[in-house]
Structure formats: structure tokens, C-alpha cells
Symmetry: C2
């Protein structure tokens, strides 16, 4: 079946024959068997995208970007939501049993990442791995594409300081991953450089509810109350806004709040969240491009760092006098 040569009959078979085979195939409803093809070729043109959660549209966006460039190159992407807490299966292969050509991991916590990259039983051993939003230069990564989160945090603090805020508390995601570590370091650096500024920190799990509780702790702690809450993501920020109001205060007049990600949630709440917009699909797209390049044997490019943009909306304003 020369037809299966797909588009490889440059000068091989005659026009007529090709046409004949084509129509015959269409007639019989012939469809190539993927398993056989994969076996023969030893490649599957499929990449695994490992994400920590599906309940966050940031990851939906990176998937979209990755799937777009994958499709353009005849690749498929299968999503593997890594078991956070209690997940379906600790092994990508039982959840996505396609044979894989490579893996892309986004924003993974360090221990989860070890499980993916290090464990030979995970089936990802020896596969090209590109990391998104993760520690650059990690062992075994063919490439890394990152966001300039440090700059984003700097933009947030600068914005707040320009507004006149001095007592700023960081509602920090209690997750041990690079993406949050960077925020923490950048926050500390930004606050440290400021005379008269006081930075606090309150850890919180990644949910609206935990953001609420952390913000309440921050707001009711002894000493002068912070006038601004810088949150590690939009969920936390939404929770922080609720905490502010439950204490009888107003957002943003009494307390300003900022987030990260610019999820759909950011414009669903009121007032709309001032937040750092992350170009998620661009991250996914570049990640897939890097994986494709690695598969082609290209040398790893210098780590990509994408700019981020502070989007000022309704949850920040100048602090009240005093």
C-alpha cells in the first residue's frame, strides 16, 4: 500500500496509481493502525504534558498553546494532571498509556518532579524533558521556558509602593516549587530595598478558603495592620478579598490586594483583581517548540524567559491616611 507513504511518493508511483489507491482506501474506510505504526516507527508523535492541577485555567491555557504547536507538527498532547494529594495513579502510564516521545512538565513541586524525571518505573526515563515555569538548569531537562516572575513581583511591589503602601504582607503559597520560591525571593528583595517598608509573610495552601484564612491571620496579627496583601495567585487573592470584608474592611480603600495569573476568576470577582498576567499559552507553545527541537536533535537553546505584565484593576489604590 503505497498510499500509506502518506505524502512520500515524490517521484515514486504514478499519479494514476496513487489516485486509485486513495479512492480504494476511502471506499473501504481504511484507517491506519496507530499501534502498528508506532511499533514500526518506534515513535508515537505524542507528548505528555504534566500539570499539577486542572482546576486552574492557567494550565488549560498552557495546554492550549502546547496543543496548537503540536498539531501544527503532527503531534498530539496528552494531559496528565499529576496527583496532588490523592490522585488517580502515581504513574503517567496508567493514566496516559500512550507511548510517549517526550514530556513537558509545568510548575511541578520538587518531589513530584523527581517522581517524573527520576523514577525509571515511571516510564519517562530517558525521554526528552522540557520544564515550564521551573528551576532553570535542572538536571535532565532538555530545555526550560520560564516566566519573568521576579519582574512581575517587582512590578507589583513598585505599584503598591508608588501608591503609598509601606506595610505589605505576602500571602505565600505553601507549596515547595520554584515558581513560588521565585515570588518569595523577589518580594523580599523588593521590600528590602525600600526605606520604611515592612514586609510580612503568611503561608497558605492553594485555595480560596486558605487564602481567606491566611489573610485573616495577616490582618488580625498584633501590631499595625498591613495596608496591602500581595498574593501568590488569584485564588489566594480572591480569598484575601473575602477576608478583608469579613473583618468589616473594604477592598481596596482599606486594604489593597494583588494576585498572579489573571485567571477568569480575576474578572469574575468584584472589584476585579489587580494581578500579574501570565502568558500561559505562549509558555505552552514555546515548551512544545523546545521539545520538538530536542526531538530533532537540536542543542538546547538558552532558557526562554517570557515577560509578564501587571494588569491594574480594581483591588489596588492608595492607602487610607494614617
Amino acid at each position: 500500500m503505497s498510499l500509506v507513504l502518506g505524502d512520500k511518493w515524490r517521484g515514486r508511483v504514478s499519479q494514476r496509481t496513487a489516485q486509485a489507491v486513495r479512492s480504494a482506501a476511502a471506499e473501504l474506510g481504511y484507517r491506519p493502525n496507530l499501534a502498528a505504526r508506532n511499533l514500526r516507527l518506534g515513535r508515537t508523535r505524542t507528548a505528555l504534558l504534566v500539570v499539577p492541577a486542572l482546576t486552574n485555567d492557567y494550565f488549560a491555557r498552557v495546554y492550549t498553546g502546547a496543543a496548537r504547536v503540536a498539531a501544527r507538527n503532527g503531534f498530539g498532547v496528552v494531559l496528565y494532571p499529576s496527583p496532588e494529594g490523592v490522585g488517580p495513579a502515581p504513574d503517567p502510564f496508567s493514566s496516559a498509556r500512550a507511548a510517549l516521545d517526550g514530556v513537558i512538565a509545568s510548575s511541578m513541586a520538587v518531589e513530584a518532579l523527581d517522581a517524573i524525571s527520576g523514577d525509571p518505573a515511571a516510564g519517562t526515563a530517558g525521554l526528552p524533558l522540557v520544564m515550564l515555569d521551573s528551576e532553570p538548569g535542572a538536571a535532565g531537562a532538555a530545555a526550560t521556558v520560564n516566566l519573568d516572575l521576579a519582574d512581575g513581583m517587582r512590578q507589583v511591589v513598585d505599584h503598591l509602593v508608588a501608591l503609598g503602601h509601606r506595610r505589605i504582607t505576602h500571602i505565600a503559597a505553601a507549596v515547595d516549587s520554584w515558581t513560588f520560591q521565585v515570588r518569595r525571593d523577589a518580594f523580599d528583595a523588593a521590600v528590602r530595598g525600600l526605606s520604611g517598608a515592612v514586609g510580612g509573610r503568611e503561608p497558605a495552601g492553594l485555595s480560596v478558603e486558605q487564602g481567606l484564612q491566611a489573610a485573616r491571620r495577616a490582618l488580625t496579627a498584633p501590631g499595625p495592620r498591613p495596608t496591602a496583601l500581595v498574593c501568590d495567585d488569584d485564588l489566594l487573592a480572591a480569598g484575601a478579598c473575602k477576608a478583608v470584608r469579613r473583618l468589616g474592611l473594604r477592598v481596596p480603600e482599606d486594604v489593597s490586594v494583588t494576585g498572579f495569573d489573571d485567571l477568569a476568576l480575576a474578572t469574575a470577582v468584584e472589584p476585579e483583581l489587580t494581578t500579574v498576567r501570565l502568558p500561559a499559552d505562549e509558555v505552552g507553545a514555546r515548551g512544545m517548540a523546545a521539545l520538538l527541537a530536542a526531538l530533532d536533535g537540536h542543542a538546547p537553546e538558552p532558557a526562554d524567559v517570557l515577560p509578564v505584565h501587571l494588569t491594574i484593576r480594581g483591588t489596588t489604590t492608595a492607602p487610607a491616611e494614617g
Copy 2:
């Protein structure tokens, strides 16, 4: 390699041999080749889950439920977010090129569904298909699992009517799928049965922004203003709340608002949404169980219909006098 007998050596090989093979395999880092296995077996133990969107945690929950029961049965689930508007690829196989044993489709619009079930080029032809949240008894479906959405809508209207509302407008998703058609019919039926009640309807695309615009149209139309807005999902409800406030009115004192789904969003906004909680992971779990049963050659069970529960929170109250 008797090892590959996985767990099939009940009385076949000796303990010692099995053990030897095991350790040898571990030693060499042997891993079975999925492509070869799939080719030989003609089955892949993989199901495709087709969803209309990833940006909605309802579908994340159905995935979780499906993946859980799949994992328990040695199956994998690959997610295919169907291209809504402009998607990656019109063909599941280019996005998820695993060979499939069956497909589960959730809440699909009718035209998208035709593409999945009817098009032989889609690669899903002849595969067992189970439909979630879709027209029961559709051609080609091995099973259907549905939510009792009509009862949910009835609960919503009853709740509102009990509170004293009479002018109720339905902010209806402008999507041609069964799931929204049911809401529409149930709303009409519920309102029709009430003396003195007036039901209106305003269509809206599935987003916060479009919910806002539809609600504004509903609230500013000539004639007496509705005192309650019944929305087809939580995104729409969040938008409706914003519209109410932009008109200088309050939620819920001036206008009550309800949603459907009970997304994370529902408790992120303020006041928290009164909404119909949908047991999404149960839907996913039952869907996968039904697919597994179909694969085992069991006759299709009677369509499952899962109960739903109205969760009363902060966006509904009695209407103001007059």
C-alpha cells in the same frame, strides 16, 4: 518471558522462576513496549474523554471521577478538549493519538457530537460511546449518564417562588446542547405552573462577560424589572451579579441570582452563589463504569440519572416590597 504474564502464572511457572525473571527484569530496567502490546492485543485499555472546555472545573471533576475508576481497572483516560470555536485539531487522533478502546463524551453541542460519533474519519467510528449529560437514547450510544437537571431547575424556581419572587428571568446559555435545553424546558414548565409568575429569558454566551451583558439587558428592558435571575451556570451568574451592581442595585436585596455547577468560582465571589451542585465526579465515574461494562459486552443498562442538590448561599433572598 513469562514475567510478562504479569499476574497470570497462577499455576504455570514456579515461584523461583518467577522471582528470577522479576529481578532480572528489574535489573535490566526492562519496560514493556506499549505499542507492541497494543498491536498484539488489539486493545489499548485507553478511553478518550471528550469535553467542550477545560476552563471550567466541572469537567476537571468529571475527568477525576473517570480517571479514578479507570485506574482501578487498569485503564487510562486521555482528555480531548473539543475545539470550541477555533481549536487545535478537528480530529481526536491528532490531539490524542493513542489508539482508543472507547469514548466518553460530555455535554457536547449537537454539531460537535456528530463530528465525534458520525464521522468515520474521526477515528472513533465503531467504538463504544458513552454520553454524559446528553440526550438519552441518542443513536450509537452504548450508555448515557445524566443529571436530573430538570429537577435542579425546579428546585431553583421553587426556592425563589417560596421566597416571594414572581418576576424571574432565565439567563440562558446560548449553546445548542441537551444540557441547556433541559434547563430551558424545566424553567418554562416551572414558571408556567405558577399563578402570577412571569418568566423572561435572555440568551448569553458562556462567559462572565456575556452573562453580565445579558443580565443588563434583562434588568434594563422596558416593563417591571425582574427580581430574580436564574442563570444556566456559575459563570453566567457571576456576570449577572456584576451587572446588578453596575446598575446600582444590590445582590441579593434588589435582585436574587442563582447558578448551576457549583464551581470553585461560586464560593470565590461575594456574596457566595446560590447554585445547583452537580456531582461531576460521580458522573465521570459512572460514565467510565458504563464504558467498561460495554467493553465487557454487557448490555446497556438503563440510563443513569443522578440527583442534584440546590445549595443555598448568599445570592438569594426575599424580594424587596413592591
